[in-house]
């Protein structure tokens, strides 16, 4: 639970309490206004520095993009895409890629290890590596391809939305580093409102008539939301799925199959109990039939 130090009353203070009436939900949210991102990568460096990761060797790959994908020790990556518009003009699209902190997190659903993935009431989905068994089911469960496996420690890592900072009333490191104010942080309600306002401004005042807010319902909404120039075409921003969902197999496995499995286990136990009541305990010493002797001889 975040310690937001929301003020309830102030001694000797005339007038209203600051912030009174504003949404102070504990749901946190990061807003990324892609239309004002300049791809400066300050967020990438801030993420590395705050989380204590250092230099890794990279290779130039026909792009300004630092590396092809996020990595177990590189959680925040600006994706650069040269998109050809219908009129032949080019758009240079820059999207900050990181964990979306889904309200219905596929990684958590898929994870079999007790306590390895935790979803806080404020919406942050956090990995606790001490409980991670390295099975990488979370990798399969994520529709955004975010969790990354460290082969040397056999643990999976991803963006924590700076749960350590947020729980101390600070914004995530990327937000603090952003020079243009393309990144915002606050309650989900406030961020959603800000995002919708910006999208409406883009639709009314610029040529981006399809601007909109990316907060996909397929994963129950996310605690990282985007303002996009073109909400109808999120794929052009480098693999942002139009309609992300928790994978069917994960759902099946952790839903009906898990239920079935539970029932099967329960029915098994019930069966054993009935068997016990019906036939009584198995008496090993009593069985001296010829087949048992054969079994012993065989072994």
């Amino acid at each position: 639970m975040p310690q937001t130090l929301e003020i309830k009353a102030i001694s000797g203070h005339a007038g209203t309490v600051p912030g009174h009436g504003a949404s102070r939900d504990y749901d946190v949210c990061k807003l990324i206004d892609v239309t004002t991102c300049i791809g400066c990568k300050a967020c990438e460096v801030a993420c590395l520095e705050w989380n204590g990761y250092s230099f890794t060797e990279t290779v130039f790959d026909n792009s300004y993009q630092t590396m092809p994908e996020t990595a177990w020790n590189y959680w925040n990556l600006i994706r650069f895409n040269e998109h050809e518009n219908s009129d032949g003009s080019i758009s240079l699209l820059m999207r900050k890629d990181q964990c979306m902190h889904c309200a219905d997190p596929g990684c958590l659903r898929a994870c079999p290890a007790d306590g390895a993935i935790v979803q806080y009431a404020n919406g942050i989905v956090d990995f606790h590596q001490e409980n991670c068994i390295g099975c990488q089911y979370c990798v399969t469960g994520c529709p955004f391809d975010i969790p990354k496996f460290n082969p040397s420690t056999k643990k999976v890592f991803k963006c924590t939305l700076c749960s350590d900072r947020v729980s101390n009333g600070l914004e995530p490191a990327c937000i603090k580093a952003c020079p243009t104010g393309c990144l915002h942080f606050g309650s989900k309600d406030d961020m959603k409102e800000l995002a919708e306002q910006r999208a409406a401004q883009l639709r009314e005042q610029t040529s981006h008539k399809d601007a909109g807010v990316y907060d996909p319902a397929g994963v129950g909404g996310t605690h990282v939301i985007y303002v996009l120039h073109d909400i109808k075409n999120p794929e052009m921003y480098g693999g942002l799925p139009a309609n992300p969902r928790v994978p069917f197999l994960v759902k099946l496995w952790k839903g009906p199959v898990k239920l079935l499995g539970g029932w099967a286990m329960f029915l098994g136990v019930v069966g054993v109990a009935i068997h016990y009541l019906r036939f009584g305990p198995k008496d090993a010493g009593h069985t001296t039939g010829p087949e048992d002797k054969n079994e012993r001889t065989k072994s």
């Binding site: 004002t36 300049i38 791809g39 990568k41 520095e49 990279t58 290779v59 026909n62 040269e82 240079l92």
Partner: protein, 850 residues
């Protein structure tokens, strides 16, 4: 910047050209975003490449590198043809109504009047205002001035001394109807009538419809005569680094004056400076042709102080009935106070304030010349502090060859760099190394976080910073090193004498710790102090001898004040260091922050702010009130410090541009290469100048003549335009030593249009070799859709772009993960004739798979 970083948020329209602020000034770029978000301001970006700035723009136009004047000239033509000019502003605040001398000729054939082919210079005698009075309505015939043909006749004459700049007549002639064929406005109209949308398309490669869209959008701030809206122009070294760089900026200034955008919140012509303190470097005479505070350097014709002062102090010039403040009439006060700061008690009235101690600058000592002189053997040694001369170029290989010939080189740096290791640059074999006899002294210096002092940003703010960490190891502060060298040289002069020891022996060195002066001591001296008790006759305020001066209005020409730089007077007063102030109050909401640090001049944040008001002294836009005339107080007051004579009432019609002797925004000036900007091709260009094919380049631009100075042509196969730039991930040649930056952009690359790559069979990440007439560069191919092939006058032309950052010293270079070539091996040594900035943007190359 005429305005400031934060002020960009007040703009309604923004033109970014010759700059890439999103990548190179990301923190300042937030104000562009703020204007977009809060005011629905529009952003137009014109660049050879679709940059990260262009990515956030409302309109992007791809321009051929080096054709900015053609584009801006087209905008001027559009503004006039479509009546988007700010009529009252133009008539009253600019030189538009003033008449130009008879005999002045426009450059239809590429030459203005007065060209002397022998010296490749202009006799600027006709580039001047005409004498006379009110000529309003007295125009006889509205015909264009005939003028003389270019003075080819003088081509046999021997080279002469440079022509002196013309002196303005005191009583200028003017025409308030703007109809006289020789008034500046009519000449300007005629000059740019040739820059039609069709011509703009043929020269720049920007399709006519796109140009018209941009022209309509940018000038829409003056639609239907409305004066409320404001447009800003933002640029950087993409404009300065051309053989006509100064003229590009002038074209922008003229456009902004025509539109009435100068002096106003959200407007102006805004230079984004590249380094955190480069503004401070120019203010403090980091160039050879000025003294601190932009006082002109003495030259050999100044036989004494009086002659010098007469030459550099402008006389008031104005149309009859108008007033002019001519603030530079105070030049003698600034100059005497400067000499008192230089030589202290040794500068007296009797000895002409020790004027004879100052070096007289007899010729060009600019950057490219220094290297050329070393290459030719006349410069024997060099101190290189805070810069990497070999990597900076132009023509890095020439600089390396020059250093091989030098006797000694002292490098003060925090990393081993290309300059201090020139002797083992790639291509030099061990046998050759043995023959290089240059002694290299490498001194470990302090990094920016290890020293205090003030830095002057693009917005002219002097901001003091504190030491964050101590210097490591044996590293020392720059002033520690420089002071000790000075003191020891002085000892040598004392002991051994010399040709002219007086300036060294009498250099005023009053610092608390002479062998390591504190920067606060220096900052106080730069601000200046009283040397005798001073009294302001108006207010009876007294400044006691020894006290810090509160501002440059207190400076005297009688030796009773001292100031190292008059422009900085007011930055460290008796109240303390104004540069250390951190007040965040901003009552106007315009982002002035008058109590944050200190801004020159006189802590005003927006220059020429008188022009933000109409003739009666009321703000053009009541929602952006900078200053205004207070009838009750009979004073100019407001949210900013008035850049004007505070008690000059509007009825006196004083010009708002008080640093010009006529008080007007100049649409016509006497630079070295023309009073109006004209489109000339870069020295290396794939096409002829369409305006005057017989004079493609600027006639006053000189090529250098050593064997190293080669210039390529299309006939030799150099037919791709190459431009150079910086990336947001790196800082010059420094950050290739910093793991974090290296990780973000690990290797050098060349941005190549997809179509060109296909033609040459180049795939992304292939190694390519770029060759110019000078040398070659090897890097990986970045095949991109962000640079498109261009059609220039029907001819298909490609442009490529190369970041400057890598070299042969750094993390990747040392590990052998890089080709270890320096980009500036490619660039030509040719410079702008006014500012002497090399032409890094737009030269010719060949491209092939390596």
């Amino acid at each position: 910047m005429t305005n400031g970083w934060i002020d960009i948020k007040n703009a309604d329209m923004m033109l970014v050209m010759g700059g890439n602020p999103a990548e190179n000034h990301p923190c300042g770029f937030k104000w562009v975003i703020e204007a977009k978000r809060q005011r629905n301001a529009k952003l137009i970006v014109v660049d050879p490449r679709l940059t990260r700035t262009a990515a956030t723009s409302d309109l992007f136009l791809q321009i051929r590198a080096g054709t900015d004047i053609a584009f801006l000239g087209g905008l001027i033509n559009y503004t006039i043809q479509n009546n988007r000019i700010a009529k009252d502003y133009l008539l009253n605040y600019t030189s538009a109504p003033i008449l130009v001398k008879e005999g002045f000729k426009l450059p239809e054939d590429g030459f203005y009047s007065g060209f002397d082919p022998a010296s490749q210079t202009y006799d600027r005698n006709t580039w001047n205002y005409a004498e006379g009075g009110d000529m309003s309505g007295k125009a006889v015939a509205a015909t264009a001035p005939a003028g003389d043909p270019p003075q080819q006749k003088s081509s046999t004459a021997a080279p002469k001394a440079p022509f002196p700049p013309p002196l303005m007549p005191e009583k200028v002639a003017y025409d308030l109807t703007l109809q006289h064929p020789r008034c500046v406005f009519q000449l300007l109209k005629q000059q740019y009538s040739r820059y039609t949308p069709e011509m703009v398309e043929r020269i720049t490669g920007i399709p006519k419809d796109q140009f018209l869209k941009a022209a309509d959008l940018f000038t829409s701030v003056r639609k239907d005569g409305d004066m409320k809206k404001v447009a800003t122009v933002i640029y950087a070294v993409g404009w300065t680094q051309h053989s006509f760089g100064t003229q590009i900026i002038r074209t922008a200034a003229m456009l902004q004056l025509l539109l009435g955008n100068v002096g106003r919140a959200g407007g102006g012509v805004n230079a984004l400076r590249g380094h955190s303190n480069i503004q401070g470097a120019t203010d403090m005479a980091g160039v050879f042709d000025s003294l601190p505070g932009y006082l002109k350097v003495p030259d050999p014709t100044d036989k004494d102080f009086k002659a010098y002062i007469e030459r550099i102090t402008p006389k008031t010039v104005k149309p009859a009935g108008w007033d002019s403040f001519n603030y530079y009439s105070n030049t003698p006060k600034f100059a005497v106070s400067f000499l008192k700061a230089m030589y202290g008690p040794a500068a007296t009235k009797e000895n002409d304030w020790a004027f004879h101690y100052l070096p007289k600058v007899d010729r060009n000592y600019s950057w490219a010349q220094i290297w050329d002189n070393m290459y030719r053997g006349s410069v024997k040694g060099m101190f290189a502090f805070g810069m990497n001369g070999v990597a900076i170029g132009p023509d890095s290989q020439k600089n390396i060859e020059a250093l091989k010939k030098a006797d000694w080189l002292v490098v003060g740096e925090i990393y081993p760099d290309e300059t201090s290791e020139f002797w083992k640059s790639p291509g030099i074999k061990p046998e050759e190394m043995k023959t290089i006899n240059t002694t290299v002294y490498r001194l470990p210096c302090a990094g920016f976080a290890e020293k205090d002092g003030s830095m002057t940003n693009s917005a002219r703010w002097l901001q003091w910073k504190n030491v964050a960490v101590p210097t490591p190891g044996e590293a020392r502060l720059d002033q520690d090193i420089v002071a000790q060298i000075f003191l020891r040289v002085r000892e040598l002069y004392k002991k051994e004498g010399g040709k002219f020891p007086d300036p060294i022996l009498n250099c005023w060195w009053p610092y608390t710790t002479p062998n390591n002066p504190s920067l606060s001591d220096l900052a106080k001296e730069i601000n200046g102090k009283a040397l005798a008790d001073l009294t302001d006759p108006k207010t009876a305020q007294v400044i006691k001898a020894g006290q810090q001066l509160p501002g440059f209005a207190w400076l005297k020409d009688d030796g009773t004040t001292l100031s190292g730089n008059w422009l900085y007077c007011g930055s460290w007063t008796e109240a303390g260091a104004m540069t250390q102030r951190r007040g965040t109050d901003d009552p106007s909401g315009l982002g002035m922050y008058l109590n944050w640090a200190w801004s020159w001049p006189a802590n005003r944040r927006g220059m020429y702010n008188r022009a933000s008001c109409d003739l009666q002294g009321k703000p053009w836009d009541p929602s952006r009130r900078q200053i205004w005339w207070d009838e009750a107080k009979q004073l100019w007051v407001g949210n900013d410090v008035p850049d004007f004579k505070a008690d000059s009432p509007p009825k006196d019609h004083m010009g708002p541009f008080i640093m010009n002797q006529e008080g007007l925004g100049r649409l016509f000036v006497w630079l070295n290469d023309g009073p109006f900007p004209e489109h000339y091709e870069p020295i290396e260009s794939p096409v002829q100048n369409l305006l005057h094919p017989n004079q493609s380049n600027s006639p006053v631009v000189k090529k250098l003549k050593t064997p190293a100075d080669k210039y390529g042509t299309t006939a030799e196969g150099f037919n791709i335009i190459c431009t150079t730039y910086r990336l947001t991930e790196h800082y010059h040649y420094w950050t290739k030593n910093n793991p974090m930056n290296v990780q973000l952009i690990p290797e050098p690359f060349v941005e190549i249009p997809v179509e060109l790559a296909q033609e040459l069979g180049i795939q992304g990440n292939d190694k390519v070799k770029v060759t110019s007439a000078r040398s070659y560069y090897i890097a990986k191919a970045f095949v991109t859709k962000r640079i498109k092939p261009m059609t220039i006058d029907g001819k298909k032309i490609y442009q490529i772009g190369i970041p400057i950052h890598q070299g042969y010293r750094g993390i990747q270079e040392d590990a052998g993960r890089d080709a270890r070539t320096i980009l500036n091996r490619l660039t030509p040594t040719v410079v702008d004739p006014n500012a002497f900035t090399p032409e890094f943007k737009g030269f010719l190359v060949k491209l092939e798979k390596a």
